[in-house]
């Protein structure tokens, strides 16, 4: 199979050059992967994991504050709970935005 035939099958102007040694046209898709895209989606995966973790931590913190407020009853208890609730809402909002921006366009 000639180089031109590979280029026709993969429909990719950046298909293997004569010195790459790649002969299989089925692997032509590899040459379509842009390193920028790979890095971008790696970052996105890490960011999504971070956001999910933060939402989980926020929920656990809210529960923790509610339990600790029962252990130690101080006048600041409602304010602490309110702050923890606000933080949870913010993390869920950010998680929702992340999904809207990065996951929804994929489907």
């Amino acid at each position: 199979m000639t180089l031109n035939q590979i280029k026709e099958i993969t429909n990719n102007p950046l298909a293997p050059s004569s010195d790459t040694g790649i002969k299989l046209p089925e692997l032509g898709w590899i040459t379509n992967l842009d390193p920028i895209d790979i890095v971008h989606w790696l970052f996105v995966a890490v960011l999504l994991l971070t956001t999910v973790s933060l939402a989980l931590f926020a929920f656990l913190t809210l529960r923790q504050i509610r339990i600790l407020n029962r252990v130690l009853k101080t006048p600041l208890a409602p304010i602490l709970t309110l702050f923890a609730l606000l933080y949870l809402i913010l993390t869920i909002g950010t998680l929702f935005l992340s999904f809207t921006l990065w996951i929804r366009p994929l489907f």
Binding site: L54, F57, L60, Q64, L68, L72, L76, S98
Partner: protein, 188 residues
Amino acid sequence: MHNPLSTFTFDADNIKSVRFSTQYDNESIKLFLRRHVATNFFWLFMLVLLASPALFLVFYPDLVFSFIDTSVFAQLFSHTELKLIVAIYMLGVSYYGIMNFMRWYFDVLIVTNKRVIDIALVPPFNWQVTQAQLEEVQDVRHTQGGIFGIIFNMGNIYIQTAGTSQNIAIYKVPKPNRVHELIIQLLP
């Protein structure tokens, strides 16, 4: 009512604004201790340091984006994505602040007319409550020293209990000498 953020409260009668879950009806809180406010300076400084790049973006967005547009980030993310990344970063920084505040707020020593109770939070999700009857207290000891210990007059309090009961300690409390004296006075 005492200041809920106070680090040292003593009332010979009863501190009414604070209660704890296992408190008896006839039990009155005499002494309430928390770590010195100065122990928060480091994490507050770190919080400001970590939040400052994001705050810079809030106040000078054009300047920041003009800089970002010339960097590799412009190829990786759009402006909308960058704003979301900053939001996620700020949430992470806020969590650091919340955890440190909670660690300080829920690390207390309470001395009542019946017992000594120590509540200690170990971030992120652990805490322990230790108590000892005043009759079980065998020895009270305090240590003070170091540059910050002298500047802010703070130190550690160690309460040794009899038998298998766990010893109680609280670190970096204000006026350790006065605390030591008060605990000794409250012992039967």
